[in-house]
């Protein structure tokens, strides 16, 4: 398996290396729509959103959550995540810069002896507003 992180190397309070995405674009939303199958028009159809009284299209929450998931897999390794949870708290607009970050809150071993960490996750925009709050559980070697 691809376990990058060793149990002895990680401590409660450790921060995940942050991941910043600058200038989020409409093309990002269109690409995510095609890749995910989420064709809700709020994310690519300007005429539709204006009719709904919204100034511009905005990101699919799961686009931003996908970028956040990379922050976790870059840290613990692909295949190590046991739980990933997100709550959407604000919209991400074209031109926004988003930063994904997280912190280890707990380290323990399961009854079977597998090392585990738990942590909090957050995505903030360029104004420092949280657009996602989340958490994860991962296996560590």
């Amino acid at each position: 398996m691809s376990c990058k992180l060793k149990f002895d190397q990680v401590n409660e309070g450790d921060e995940l290396p942050p991941l910043t995405l600058t200038n989020v674009s409409r093309m990002d939303f269109v690409r995510y729509a095609g890749a995910s199958g989420d064709f809700v028009p709020l994310h690519y159809d300007q005429t539709f959103v204006e009719f709904a009284g919204i100034p511009t299209v905005f990101a699919q929450g799961m686009f931003t959550a996908g970028v956040l998931s990379r922050c976790v897999t870059d840290y613990v390794g692909v295949g190590q995540v046991r739980r990933f949870k997100v709550r959407f708290t604000a919209r991400v607009w074209p031109g926004d810069t988003i930063t994904c970050r997280g912190r280890v809150t707990k380290k323990y071993r399961t009854e079977a002896g597998e090392g585990r960490i738990e942590g909090d996750l957050e995505v903030v925009n360029q104004k420092g507003e949280a657009v996602i709050r989340g958490s994860f559980v991962a296996a560590v070697g």
């Binding site: 995910s36 199958g37 970028v67 046991r82 739980r83």
Partner: protein, 149 residues
């Protein structure tokens, strides 16, 4: 609008093959350049096959249809995706053929900030693989915002 009577409703099972092309496309869309999704030889050496990104099960949208969704009527003009959660029990890799089944796990109400009642529906999809092993559970919380009375 969803209500408590919807709890326990299930959709028909749906089949979802895990395909490398889709995994690559999805990884590109979430801007994840990890070579394990793009270099099949490296992935095979490390995992046996190309693994999936954490949120890849969202692509079940391509395999689900009206019959696989529980019969719940949402007011689409007031619907938001509030939360999403994935739990993983076994690895999921390219070549696996998953079977998913979606259940209305819960429906509850809360008072909205600006008055009106918000309705929260928890849709839980359980995935098993071709060996009958439970591999993952995906939970979506769908929010219907309140009408101001």
């Amino acid at each position: 609008m969803a209500d408590k009577n919807d709890i326990g409703k299930t959709g028909e099972p749906f089949v979802m093959p895990i395909e490398w092309g889709k995994v690559r496309e999805f990884a590109r869309a979430i801007k994840d350049p990890n070579p394990l999704y793009f270099d099949r030889e490296q992935a095979r050496q490390q995992f046996g096959e190309v693994p999936i990104p954490v949120t890849f099960l969202m692509t079940s949208a391509f395999w689900q249809d009206e019959r696989s969704m529980p019969a719940v009527s949402f007011d689409l003009s007031r619907v938001l995706h509030g939360e999403q959660e994935f739990e993983f029990f076994k690895p999921i890799r390219v070549g696996d053929v998953l079977t998913g089944r979606t259940l209305v796990a819960d429906v509850y109400e809360r008072q909205g900030g600006r008055g009106g009642t918000m309705t929260f529906t928890v849709l839980e999809t359980t995935y098993t693989n071709q060996n009958g092993e439970k591999v993952a559970v995906a939970r979506s919380v769908i929010v219907e915002t309140g009408t101001r009375g």
